[in-house]
Amino acid sequence: MTTSTVPFTEERVQVAGTELYVLKGGSGPPVLVLHGVEGFEGWLAFHDALAEQATVYAPSHPGYGQTPCPDWLETIPHQAVFYHWFLQQQASAPVDVVGIGMGGWIAAQMAVMCPQNMRHLVLVDAAGVRPQHSEMFDIFITPWRQVIDRCFYDAANSPEYQRLFGGEFQEFGGPREAGRTTSMRMCFRPFMYDRSLPGMLEKVHVPTLIVWGAQDQIIPVECGQLYQRAIPGATLRLIEQCGHWPHLERPQELARLVTEFTSNT
């Protein structure tokens, strides 16, 4: 999908001295969509599908190019604090929060910190918990092109893959370098998890949906099960024939799962 059907606007919102860049579109209950290590890739087919029944806020995280990184912000919990400030400032809380990959870790951390700001929590192939019987794939020692290809089950048949990554790929620098650097800064060690997170999630009573690409080759499905075990009452749904990035590979299906969950629970 290269053209959107739902109009969206670009906004720059001052959050504690940092100008947060956010795309906003659609109407209905507000939903904050947090991207992962892929970085901010603009208005996606997933945002578009979601915006048919919700007001979508799709920001670029601090340190991911379009939003500068304040000097103090160095960890995932820091990102979570930043987004709570944003939600409180928008005066629209509680909102639905959808976090994908590393963004799922931010969302889970937000739920630990201040669940009253959240109406629903949706974790999609989320980082943040350490698998017990498998390993997360080490994206930091793998060429970026290989990482991206590995994030899809069937890249050749994904319009979003073709649109975003199908052409020439800049190996050094470019708009994605800032985000890759920030991911490295925040998630290098321990690699993509906080060993205390499952314990802290025990008291989260936000209705939670966990969605996983059944063929995720980056974060094993086991992590989805661990999230489900940690968060009281959480539901786990798998998307078949889908890799680590359902928002890019199965945007309509993911949007449908999210919308069903947020409107029926």
Binding site: I141, W144, E171, T181, T182
Partner: protein, 380 residues
């Protein structure tokens, strides 16, 4: 250039594997299976290389350069301080020139300051303590965040200098390092502290940092033209800092092998290519992970071009452009004079052993250097 100092260098390569296996792995680094490592062979090689250091000391090299790499078969020194300690006891006159300790990968720089102080005392003041950032892959091998590389380099340096020069006890509350008490009971013999050098290949940030601290900057075998550009950056930085760059502020590492005959030297010199272009082959994510360097696309490309170019050059071309100096003493003296004078360096490091060169050929090379090459260079 009568005051130029001459140093012997070998990377201490581990040669017990076939470099052709590089085709099966991203690089001869990091994930190359260590099942290919034979400790029996390593034991022989370590001791052999140490014997050769003793010869270099005896024949009159001003110093011996050593280094450190991790998960790297081309360099057996996983700890430069262990080699330094050995040299402190088995050599008598040569300076022990560490180029250098990779500071960012060290979690306890105070311990490093203590070890270096011990080496300086045991060697009776022969330590030259170089510090490096280490390539990105060194950070990965030690699981230290590459995005913190420069910050950790600078702060570890500050901790070590403070530990060496500031009377203890005192506290340290830094960004990456914190200490309740810095009060080492091991202090360097040389005052105010052992000389510090900083080697590099292409990073202008590093040249500028070295010049700002008035530390000698050693160019590790980059092309002569690139080396001149780096030296010019040093010169300009020195001027901005209010001093004039001298030969003692700059050095150059050059591959150089000598033998009794031209034919022998030419045959053995091919060993400098023993890795078959492995330097050329390393993913960007290992060489310069995101956040490792200031994002300078042109600079990183250039860095890469250097390693690629050397390996792909024909043997003759490498000699023509002075990447490699090989021959009889008379043949190499003239070339080394040319390079030394062109660059105006006060430190010339001679990388005189590599690959499968035998112990006998290496010792003969070192002897010829000591008897014929170094005296001629010192006179001219």
């Amino acid at each position: 250039m009568a005051n130029t100092q001459y140093y012997y260098f070998t990377e201490q390569p581990y040669t017990g594997y076939d470099p052709a296996i590089q085709d099966e792995y991203p690089a001869l680094r990091l994930t190359l299976p260590n099942s290919l490592y034979d400790p029996k062979l390593a034991s022989e090689l370590y001791n052999r290389y140490h014997d050769e250091y003793q010869v270099a000391d005896e024949v009159g090299f001003d110093g011996i350069m050593i280094n450190e790499h991790h998960t790297a078969p081309f360099c057996m020194q996983a700890s430069i301080n262990i080699t330094g300690t050995v040299l402190a006891k088995i050599t008598r006159h040569a300076k022990i020139v560490m180029l250098g300790n990779p500071l960012p990968v060290v979690d306890n720089p105070l311990r490093l300051a203590e070890e270096l102080s011990m080496i300086d005392c045991i060697s009776r003041g022969r330590l030259v303590s170089g510090f490096v950032r280490g390539g990105g892959v060194e950070s990965l091998a030690n699981n230290v965040n590459p995005a913190h590389n420069r910050e950790r380099f600078e702060e570890a340096h500050d901790v070590i200098l403070a530990a060496w020069t500031r009377p203890g006890p005192f506290r340290w509350e830094g960004k990456h390092f914190q200490y309740r008490v810095i009060n080492p009971w091991a202090l360097p013999l040389q005052k105010p502290h052992p000389p510090i050098m900083v080697p590099g290949t292409a990073s202008t940030e590093t040249v500028v940092w070295a010049a700002q601290h008035r530390y000698p900057y050693i160019v590790l075998g980059s092309f002569l033209e690139q080396t001149q550009e780096l030296i010019q950056i040093y010169r300009e930085t020195a001027e901005a800092e209010g001093y004039e760059m001298q030969p003692e502020h700059i050095g150059y590492l050059i591959r150089c092998f000598v033998a009794d005959t031209h034919e022998k030297a030419q045959e053995q010199g091919k060993n400098f290519f023993w890795q078959n272009g492995a330097l050329n082959k390393q993913p960007r994510e290992w060489m310069a992970p995101p956040g490792y360097a200031t994002v300078n696309v042109a600079g990183i490309r250039r860095l890469r071009a250097i390693s690629r170019s050397f390996d792909s050059l024909a043997y003759e071309e490498a000699q023509k452009n002075y990447q490699l100096v090989v021959g009889t003493p008379d043949q190499v003296i003239e070339k080394l004079q040319y390079v030394r004078n062109l660059l105006g360096v006060g430190h010339l490091f001679l990388w005189s052993h590599d690959g499968y060169m035998t112990h006998e050929d290496t010792v003969r090379c070192i002897e010829l250097m000591g008897k014929e090459v170094l005296p001629a260079l010192r006179e001219s």
